[in-house]
Symmetry: C2
Subunit: 240 residues, 2 copies
């Protein structure tokens, strides 16, 4: 099944348009990923300049969403895509919504970094931010790569990692609550870390969504609300 | 511009399909709204049975998303809609994503209600939940009505109310932090309320998104990242 290549249309222009939305999605993904990495680093280093830069740059991600969305609508209106082309356009329309929200969550983390400049550093939680942030950043990278290469195994890895992130997030949150109870003077500052972890966990959810669109794109099956086992079965059907 | 009526196609079947996605969107919206209202009530009344019902019923909202999405893809593939029909299909595809997330947020509130059954009632924050919850529930109602009637003024009201909700949310959160610092024994229980308020604020954002799709649907303009003033100008252009 040659679905990685969309260069099979008689109209050269149509090919160019389909390639363009793939390329722009990759670019938007790269932007969103840089925002996430910069926001995490700004939080860990208490780097207010970098945090403010992340907040300012969010508009770039938003603009990309509108541009790519318009490109998709134009293709739907003029080219009336069918089969895998239609799935590509639909998957891209959905993916950009997730990337835009990832940008929003990165901004939220950056805003917490700015708040911590005011409230003072948190006495706890940086290891968790670094650790969960590392997971989530890699998930996003893998989700984008799996989209570019239509790599189902890589997409599956992202879905699997999201479960790990959710567990680590819950553990970290419980520990931070315990810490706040023991040291109430730290409440405001630990809350900044908790909101940031929450944003990271949401970014993980969005990366999982991206990976699930890849499965939809390749297999034509909507696995958004399937559990992990069903998704594994979809990607690697067991022999009867 | 008669865009409220999509009964202008030669193919009777096509008309039926377009009407169906509108109807199903309304139904899904009604489900999501009931979930939100039930979750708020479960939290306020510490009604664990109702909360568990909300968590269980989330799958119904999810299933609706998949079904409507499939209907939209089928229309795109077979009918190759143009102009306002295409905008309708696109707006519905986007709207169901927001409704699905609204269902998720309602579940999160219900889970907090369940946690409070275990942790004990919070000493503060119920007035805020009721107040902000009332706003958000009405926003969702208005967003759905504005979609059904293509009522731009109602859509604009939703966007305006979202700004009020965001402000009230910030105020409530600051007060709850202050309260936690004064009474550290309440931290866990007040956090349950804070997470619930956060979920309500997110539901407000999604209702605003729904309203913005109505503006897109009627005016053909993507106002998702426009500020309130620009949206007001879009809906009510000033005379030169």
């Amino acid at each position: 099944m040659d679905i990685t290549s969309h260069t099979h249309h008689i109209s050269q222009q149509y090919n160019i348009e389909l390639e363009a939305i793939r390329t722009h999605l990759s670019e938007m993904g790269g932007m969103a990923q840089r925002q996430v990495n910069d926001a995490i680093q700004a939080l860990i280093d208490a780097d207010i300049e970098r945090a403010e830069q992340v907040v300012r740059a969010d508009i770039g991600v938003n603009n990309m969403e509108v541009t790519i969305d318009e490109e998709c609508v134009r293709i739907l209106a003029r080219r009336q895509p069918a089969a895998s082309d239609l799935r590509l356009v639909i998957a891209v329309t959905k993916a950009i919504t997730d990337l835009e929200r990832i940008g929003d969550e990165a901004s939220k983390i950056a805003r917490q970094a700015i708040a911590m400049h005011k409230d003072g550093l948190a006495p706890r939680g940086y290891i968790e931010v670094r650790h969960i942030g590392g997971h989530v950043s890699r998930m996003l990278q893998d989700a984008l790569d799996s989209f570019a290469r239509l790599d189902l195994d890589m997409a599956l890895t992202v879905v699997q990692t999201d479960r790990v992130v959710d567990m680590e997030y819950s553990t970290a949150m419980r520990e931070l609550v315990t810490f706040m109870i023991e040291d109430p003077r730290s409440i405001t500052r630990v809350l900044n870390i908790m909101w940031s972890l929450r944003a990271l966990e949401r970014i993980g959810d969005h990366a999982r969504n991206l990976a699930q669109y890849v499965i939809y794109l390749v297999n034509g099956e909507d696995v958004r609300h399937a559990n992990l086992e069903a998704i594994e079965e979809n990607v690697h059907p067991r022999d009867e």
